[in-house]
C-alpha cells in the first residue's frame, strides 16, 4: 500500500502538502494539486482508513447484531441495513447471536471495543426470556449510539424500529370478518417471543370485539417450549407441525379462516389444507407472514402480511446515523412503527 510519505518523497514535497492536495485544499496551487493527484492515481494510492479513524475518532462502521440470519425476515433486514449504510458511507460489521444471550453479550463486548460508531440490535430470544439487559446498558454507558429493531424491550431507552404486531393481526381479523368469515383460527410457532405475544393478543382482542367471545381452542401453538431456538432449527417443529395443523383443521369444525403468526406456518397450513382437499379460499382463507417468495411456496399461493423488513433495516440505519451525527445525547428517543401491508396470494 502506497502512503502519503512515499508520494511526498517522490515529488520532493512535504507530507502535508500531499495531504492537502489530495483533499483539494485551496491552500495548494492547482499546479501542484494536479501533479500530486496524477501521481496518486498512477500509483493507485488509497487513503488508509485506519489512520483516518484513529485521527478522527470515527470508524464509519456500524455494528449489527441479529438473532438469526437463517430467518428470512432478518436476512431482509440485514439487506436493508447494508443498502442504507452504504448509501451513507458506512460499512457494517455483522454478528448473529443465534438466539443466545451469551453470544449477544460476547458480540456487544467485541463491538464496544471502539471499532464501531453505532450499533443496530435485535434481541435474542433468550435475552428477552431472561429479562437480562445489563450488557446493553454498557453500550449506552459508553455513549455508543444504539437503535433496537423488531425485538425490543422497554427496559432500554434508545431509538427503536418495530412493526405494529397487535394492530396488524387485529386488522387482519377485522378484514376477514368483513369478508364474511365466521370462525377464524390462529396458528403460532412464536408465542414465546414478545412479538408473537402481541400478535396473539391482537387476535384475542379482535375475537372479543367482533365475535363477542374468544375461544382458546382456536389457537394452535406449534411450539410450546420456551427458549427453543428459532423454529427453523426446531426438530420438534419440523416433525410435528404438519400433523398438528392437520389435526387442528380437522377438529375445528366450521373453521373458515386461518391466520398464521410466523413466516413458515402459513405455508404449512396451505399445503396441509390442500392435501385435505379443502377448497382454498372458498371454504378456508389462509393468511400468513412473509413476502412474495414465501407466497410462491404454497399452492394456492399464501396471502401474506408483509412486514417490509428491508424498510425496517433501512430506517434503523438512518435513525442510527442521525443519532451519531447529532451531538446532543439529551434528545428524547423515538420509536418508529413501520406499517405492514397484506398482499396478493389466492388463499384469502
Amino acid at each position: 500500500m502506497v502512503t502519503l510519505k512515499q508520494l511526498a518523497k517522490k515529488l520532493n514535497v512535504s507530507v502535508s502538502t500531499v495531504s492537502k492536495a489530495l483533499n483539494n485544499s485551496d491552500e495548494i496551487s492547482s499546479e501542484t494539486i494536479i501533479k500530486i493527484q496524477t501521481l496518486a492515481k498512477e500509483l493507485n494510492y488509497k487513503r488508509n482508513k485506519i489512520a483516518l479513524s484513529l485521527k478522527s475518532n470515527k470508524t464509519l462502521t456500524l455494528g449489527v447484531v441479529l438473532p438469526d440470519i437463517l430467518n428470512r425476515f432478518y436476512a431482509k433486514v440485514l439487506y436493508g441495513i447494508q443498502i442504507a449504510a452504504e448509501e451513507l458511507g458506512y460499512d457494517i460489521i455483522t454478528f448473529f447471536s443465534k438466539e443466545s444471550l451469551e453470544k449477544e453479550i460476547d458480540y456487544l463486548q467485541i463491538i464496544a471495543t471502539g471499532s464501531v460508531d453505532g450499533v443496530l440490535l435485535a434481541l435474542s430470544e433468550e435475552t428477552l426470556n431472561k429479562n437480562e439487559f445489563s450488557h446493553i446498558k454498557n453500550l449506552t454507558l459508553n455513549n455508543i449510539p444504539l437503535v433496537m429493531l423488531d425485538r425490543i424491550t422497554d427496559k432500554i431507552s434508545c431509538d427503536k424500529v418495530i412493526i405494529d404486531d397487535f394492530d396488524t393481526i387485529y386488522n387482519e381479523v377485522k378484514s376477514l370478518v368483513k369478508m364474511g368469515r365466521k370462525k377464524i383460527g390462529f396458528i403460532t410457532a412464536i408465542n414465546n417471543l414478545n412479538v408473537g405475544k402481541h400478535r396473539s393478543n391482537g387476535y384475542r382482542k379482535a375475537c372479543v370485539d367482533f365475535f363477542g367471545k374468544f375461544d382458546d381452542q382456536l389457537i394452535l401453538k406449534l411450539v410450546h417450549q420456551t427458549n427453543i431456538s428459532h423454529i427453523e432449527n426446531s426438530e420438534y417443529y419440523r416433525k410435528n407441525a404438519h400433523n398438528s395443523i392437520e389435526n387442528f383443521i380437522r377438529e375445528s369444525k366450521g373453521l373458515d379462516a386461518i391466520i398464521a403468526a410466523d413466516n413458515i406456518s402459513g405455508i404449512l397450513a396451505v399445503n396441509t389444507a390442500s392435501k385435505l382437499n379443502i377448497d382454498i379460499p372458498k371454504d378456508l382463507s389462509i393468511v400468513g407472514f412473509g413476502d412474495k417468495l414465501t407466497s410462491m411456496l404454497s399452492l394456492p399461493q399464501l396471502t401474506i402480511i408483509n412486514q417490509h423488513a428491508v424498510q425496517i433495516g433501512k430506517k434503523s440505519v438512518r435513525m442510527l446515523i442521525n443519532r451519531i451525527n447529532s451531538k446532543s445525547t439529551e434528545n428524547t428517543f423515538v420509536t418508529e412503527i413501520i406499517p405492514t401491508t397484506t398482499q396478493g396470494g389466492s388463499s384469502k
Copy 2:
C-alpha cells in the same frame, strides 16, 4: 473511552509501563502489574482496536462479498463465515452485490482501501456473464488474500471452495435409475449460471450413460433471460413457474422422476404435482436442492440435496486465514470441494 495515557496519569507511571503491564510483560514487577490491571478493570479499559491496527498493519477483519443474502444458500454461507471468523478472532464486514457487476466493483474497491486482511467472494451473475474480472485482479495485485466460493472463475488464481455440481447431479440420476426410474426430468431456473450449467451437464451426461440418449424435451428451463437477478426477485419466475411446471409434467408422458437444479423449483414441483393428484413418490420422485427447512415447505416433503452451505462458509474462512498467516505468496492455490449429501424427505 479510557486510554493508556489516562491510566498512566492516574497511577503516576509512564504509558509504556501501563502498556507492558496490560500485556503481562515480565519486564514489569507483578506488584505494578496488579495495580495497573486492577485500575484498568475498574475503569473498564479496552484496548483501542484502531490504534492496534495502525500499529500492526492488521485489522483482524475480513471482507465478505456475496451475490444475494435473500438467497437462503448464501444466508447459510454467511452464517458459517461469521461463526468461523469469530472462532479465529476475526470480524466480518459484509456486502451484497445483488448480482450486479457494478456493485461488486464498488465493494471490492471499498474493501481494497486497506481496512481488511482478506476477502471472501462469490461472484455476481453479471460478473460471470460479462467475463469481467479485472476488478478482482486488483485485489491480488494489492496482495490482499482472496478466497472465492461457489461462484468462481478459472480466470483468477486463488484458493477456492465449491461443491461438485456435475457429480452431484450425475450421481443423483444414477441413484434414481437404480431405484428403477425410467424417465427423469430436469428443472432449472439457474442455467445462466456456471453452477447451473455444471448441473445440467451432469444430468445430460448421466442420461447418455444410463439411458443411451439424451432428450432435450426433458429439460425445463424456467428462466431464459440471462442477467436476470436471482430468481426470487424475478417477476417472470414468480408468475410463470407453477404453470410451466404443470405443463411440463402434463406433457412429459411417463415421467417418473424430477430433479430440480435450484433451491426453489423443487418445492414448486412437489406442490404442483400434488395439486395434479400425482402420487408422490410412487408415481413421481422429486429431488431438489436445499436443506431441512426447504424440505418442510412442500407436502410430501421434498427430498433434498444439501450443499452444506454453512460448511462452505467455515471452510472458506479457514483457508483465507491460513493464507493470511502464511507469509509466502508463492504457495500454490488449492480448490476445495465440499461433498453434497442427499437427505430425507418422502418425495423420492
